[in-house]
Symmetry: C2
Subunit: 231 residues, 2 copies
DNA sequence: AGAAAACAAGAGCGGTGCTCACATTTGTTG
DNA sequence: CAACAAATGTGAGCACCGCTCTTGTTTTCT
């Protein structure tokens, strides 16, 4: 119990605001998220919440960070539940964790991976860390698989010098012991994974969703493992 | 010049509304799209536009249809510019057309393929037709390539009976002479293509965008052709 | 020419984000 | 302990939004 009672009350109010905001986000969507409604649920007059949250965008940032953290926790837990040497299994576990969490929290998923909210840009210093947890889990997995010799060489070579230069920069910035082709395939797999999840969550497949969305996703996970050459 | 002067004036006003709406969408984004602002630019009082557009959602639907049509035109033109027997080239042309149009009209792209606008669902009877033009172009291409024996057999089999049943339904509904594995790979390629474009347009790659976004996309197109087995 | 339909204007309702002046409570310091 | 300062809550207010309704005008059809 650190700090003064006022500090603790403030922390409590902050967490209440995030909780109420998440609830409104889940039930009514991002555009219907209003500080006035949060204030009402908080039992306080609308201008009072501005003591805690600078603006509506600021509340969105809190929810973005909250969502990235929850997704990151889900992904980490899913990875930890698979044997460390089962690389395709771990990649599939990441994919399933993303899809499951997205289906459970579609509005938050849309906030993180859908169209950017107009006039709002998530401040990098707050979202950079938690926002990269999923791709970090993927990259870590690929690096381990490559080091263990469990990744087939990429079928498509990287020929663009500019692209190779960009990969080199990323390689030393992230300390990635991976050749260009694997990085390129990884970026593709990353985007493709979220493309599959987004298509399903955003309803691009249509109403029928081609019969069995879960089975379709499992098949896509197998294709993803094949693209990456994981074994 | 068909119809009465009033009819022509109405058609002109309608097209003005869509044009002004597109402009606001491009400059301020979907959430900032307001009927009152459109009315101001139209030089008319706000309630007057309700004679032409039932609601703000109705205007969004008009813009959605407009966007799907423009994207469909761009894709059709891109496909037509490639020799009919160059199947990988035609698929890459579709991908480049989607990316190029999306980069040119990011707000409209977000309206079509990003998070669904909260509380708004595009009415199927108006958007179904133009909304499926891109995937129809892809499916047509794959069917022709398969018939010409220019598609390698899929590397991953479809094992789920529910999924196979869903594919059978789609096969006879769309008159698709393609085996399950090709359909599954096609759906994956479709989602992956838009995943790559969305990641770039929505800024998920980060600020640097890994050096050269265009070269990265070209590499992803090669991977896509490989996944589909096009040759 | 007269009836009917379409159109534009303006007022109005309830909602939003956000700011400000003011009163009250709480923590710190002389 | 008292006084000061900081933090917190209140209510009014501004400008904007979607949308509805009434009123007066214009155009089209019979």
């Amino acid at each position: 119990m650190p700090g003064t009672p006022r500090d603790r009350a403030r922390a409590q109010t902050m967490s209440d605001i995030v909780r109420i905001g998440r609830h409104h986000l889940a039930t009514d969507g991002a555009a219907a998220l209003s500080l006035r409604a949060v204030a009402r649920d908080l039992g306080v007059v609308s201008s009072a919440v501005y003591r805690y949250v600078k603006s509506r965008d600021d509340l969105l940032t809190l929810l973005v960070v909250d969502g990235y953290d929850e997704l990151g926790d889900a992904v980490d837990a899913a990875v930890a539940a698979v044997p460390a040497d089962d690389f395709p299994g771990r990649q599939a576990a990441i994919g399933r964790a993303v899809r499951t969490w997205g289906l459970a929290e579609p509005a938050t998923y849309a906030l993180l991976f859908g169209s950017p909210v107009p006039g709002y840009e998530a401040p990098a210093e707050q979202t950079m860390g938690p926002g990269t947890r999923v791709v970090r889990a993927l990259v870590t997995l690929w690096a381990e698989a490559y080091a263990a010799g469990r990744m087939s060489p990429p079928t498509v070579e990287v020929t663009s010098p500019a692209l190779a230069a960009g990969f080199s920069a990323a390689r030393e910035e992230l300390d990635l012991p991976l050749p260009d082709g694997v990085i390129a395939a990884g970026v593709f797999g990353w985007a493709a994974l979220f493309g599959c999840v987004s298509f399903e969550i955003f309803g691009q497949y249509g109403d029928d969703a081609l019969g069995d969305p879960a089975a379709l996703f499992e098949h896509h996970l197998e294709l993803l493992a094949a693209v990456l050459g994981l074994r």
